[in-house]
Structures are given as structure tokens and as C-alpha cells.
Symmetry: C2
Amino acid sequence: MPGLTIVGAGLIGCSFAAAAREAGIFDHFEAVEPDPGTADRALALGLIDALVEQPSPDYPVLLACPSDQVVPWLLQLNDHEAPVFDVASVKGAILRKLAATGTPGPAGFVACHPIAGRETSGPDAADVQLFRNRPAIITPGAATDPDSLARVRGWWQAVGAQVDTMDPDLHDEIYARTSHLPHLLAFAFLLGIEPHQLPHSGGGFRDFSRIGASDPQMWSAIFDLNRTAVLSALDEFRQHLDELAAAIEAGDRAACRRLISAARARRADLAD
Amino acid sequence: MPGLTIVGAGLIGCSFAAAAREAGIFDHFEAVEPDPGTADRALALGLIDALVEQPSPDYPVLLACPSDQVVPWLLQLNDHEAPVFDVASVKGAILRKLAATGTPGPAGFVACHPIAGRETSGPDAADVQLFRNRPAIITPGAATDPDSLARVRGWWQAVGAQVDTMDPDLHDEIYARTSHLPHLLAFAFLLGIEPHQLPHSGGGFRDFSRIGASDPQMWSAIFDLNRTAVLSALDEFRQHLDELAAAIEAGDRAACRRLISAARARRADLAD
């Protein structure tokens, strides 16, 4: 049983360490973490065993850093032989960025995206159950090493995730709509809220805007990497918003009701 | 101890009946409910005691009907002597609509808005705790009868609500931003979601879009009544959205991060 190097000892990295330790799939957890405060907390909480400057050459590496740092790490780990896997919310855009460098990256790289974020961050938010019964998307390509793929898939399953594979560009398009766009809307919405209005926020506001408390560095990186798909999802959203606004402006209550009914139906298959 | 007539035996009407019964502030609950299915469920669940065509002349009346039916009911109850109070999410617009009719409405009318909705509806969703520790906004005017105001205030307190008074137009402006706008955005967002994308919706999506499952009739009425304030809140939202989109489009990650940080700070004072 080898050790694991975690690059980024934040919510996802520390939650993976806790779950992998519980599952007994690695026996030593080391972390590369540039922020001293974060590193200290992860050590103090016993989520990682040691801090390192560089991943140990024979350890698998989990890249749990912000999305925009995945490609630089892949370049740096070009000769790494053990599996390397990431957790970034953007997949196709990262793979294309890597391809554009002309460097292949580590032979054992497996692109992953566990659907298990939350609006809190850091080691203190770590949760051993974070991945349990949540999807873990893997976006393999022609160059993906089958043995590394099988091992990484097994690790996600060991921490309780349900592994799904999909095309990396389709991934980016779908998550632009179902995850990146709602974050963008929640941020824009919150920019219009004044402190004196907060006491007048009901439960709807609370749920709706929860994702607006998410990490600015992480989300500016995601929007930047997945720019094309995010702006395209936004264009479509604006059309629907214009349609609703036009019905309201015209006092056309029947049209407004039809649009709301259609919207409501889109969510009907989603259990709360 | 008198009885109470509830106009509209939906979520709010039935929850008030259940809570008022538990608090012992009325001894008989009758309902005007045009939908036979809703009326039957409210009776079967023991939430109301009787169905009536018209409110009993000496009973206080709770108007728990859709917002657009409040003014017609106020006109019909013009000579009603007991207190009449509503629960509509729009206040100033309703009072102005009433004033425009030239008919004063019932002498004991007290305009109210309990901040206690949810995305479910009907008698089966009724909850005796719905108003507990939630705000109940009252928007009195110069013409509001002090005795009726005191009685209605006491009833809200008896069901556990925290009563707050405010100016009706300020109410509409604030709730356009904190409640009506997020509903509008959630509806527009859901219109862009395809069924095959739903399995890829994480927890953020679930929370963000929960209010998008709200009742179409109720919300088309609210948007219509509070049109001016809703469209003005929407205009401001669009400016913030444009600002964020411009930063993403320009690849200006620092500007994007600043905007997200500002958005996040707007919510920092709100406990989850």
C-alpha cells in the first residue's frame, strides 16, 4: 500500500485524504500546500501526515489545487510514473490547454471531477463522507493509460463515489449550465444586495444564494478556463430571462404563467 | 373566542389554521376555497372545520388567496366589521390598486406579509411551525384601525412570528430584490436545463433552483402586481451580470475575483 501526495490541502484534498485513510487505500498522506495556515490546520487535524515541497516520485498524486494550477502541475509532473489525477470542475478546456503546450504530461494522468463541492473551504470543512454516493466523473481520452484509469476509478469507488465516464468537452458544456452558470448568477445577484435588505431574506434567498459564498479564487479560475461554454450558457439564460421580463413588462400574466410552469417542469424529475 | 374565515385553503392558509388552532386563538375555522380537491384535503386533514361560500359576517378574515385576488376580496368585504388581513408578497402595489378603485375596503383591514413561503403548496404541505421565529411584516397606513392592527399583530405573535412594521412601498422594493428577483432568475435558469443534464446537477444546483419549483399562478400574480419594482431590480441585476460577463470575456481574472469577493461579502452577515 503506497502513500498519496495531495497537491492542495483544501476542502477536497483533505476530504479525500480522510475518506481514503478510512477506506485504507493509502497508508501515508503527504501534502504540497503553499498556504502555511492551511497546511498547519491540515496537519493539526491529522488529515495529512507530512508537508512536502514536491510529490514523492513513487506516490500517486491527487491534484486538488485550483483549476488554473492543474496544467502547470501536469507539466511539472511530466515524468511522474505513478497515477496523477485531478478534481477540477473543468475538463476539456484543461486537456486542450495541456495539448497546446506540446508536452504530453504524466503518462498516468486521469482527468476527474467529483461532484461534491460546497460553499465552505479549507481543512476545517473537510468531510470524510463528502464523496459518498456522489458522482465522480472521469473524462478519459485515447492517450489515457488503462491501468492508471482502473486504479483511479477504484480509489473513487473506495471513497464511496459513483464513477461515471464522459467526453471532456461535453462535460464542460453540461457543467457550464448546471454548475458554473448558477454560480455566476448567484454572484451577480448578491452584488445587488444591500446590508439593510438581508434581514428581509427568506428561506428562498438563503438557498438560492448559498453558492454565492463560494471561493473567489476557485471560481474566477473556473470561469476563465471554461469561458466559452460559460458565456454560451449565459447567452441562452439571457434569452430566457428576456422572455420572462417581456411577459412581465407586457402584463401578460398567461404567458408568464406558461413560462413558469415550463421552468418548474424542468426540475420535476429532481428529487429534493 | 371567535371563529376565523380563511380565504384560500393552501399552504399558508392551512398552516395558519393549524398554528392558530394549536395556540387556541380561534375556536372554529371555516374556509372559502374554490378548488374542490384542495377544499377536500383541508377538510380531510382536519385543518379546517367547514367550507363556506362567503365569510361569516362576524368572523375575522384571513385572505390567503393568490395576490391578485386580494383587492377583489377587499372590495367584496367593504362592509366587513371584523379584522381582515392578507398574506400577499406584495403590499404597496395592492394598497395603491385598492385606493385607485375609490372604495376604501374593510375598516379593519391590516396588510400583512409573513416571510414563510416554501416551494411546496396545498393543504398537504401545511406546517403548524411554518411561522415560528419567522418575520411577519405588517405595513400599516394612516387609515389602519389601531384596534384591528393590535389584534392582527397579536395573532401573528400567537403563531410564533416576529412582527415587524414597515412602509408598504419600501416593502415592495426590498422584496423585489430579496425574493421576487431570485424566483425570476431561478425560473429563467430552469428554462435552459435539459432533462439529460439533470443527473449532472450537484448540491449547488439543487439549492439554487429549489425556488424554481414554486407555484406558477402565485408567482405570475406577484410579478404582475410588483412589476415596477421587479423590473427595476432586474435592471440592476443585469448590470452586475454584464460586469461579471465582461471580466470573464476579457479573461480579466483579477477583476472577476474582485467581483466574486464583493458578492460573497454581501452574504457574509447571513448565517446559514
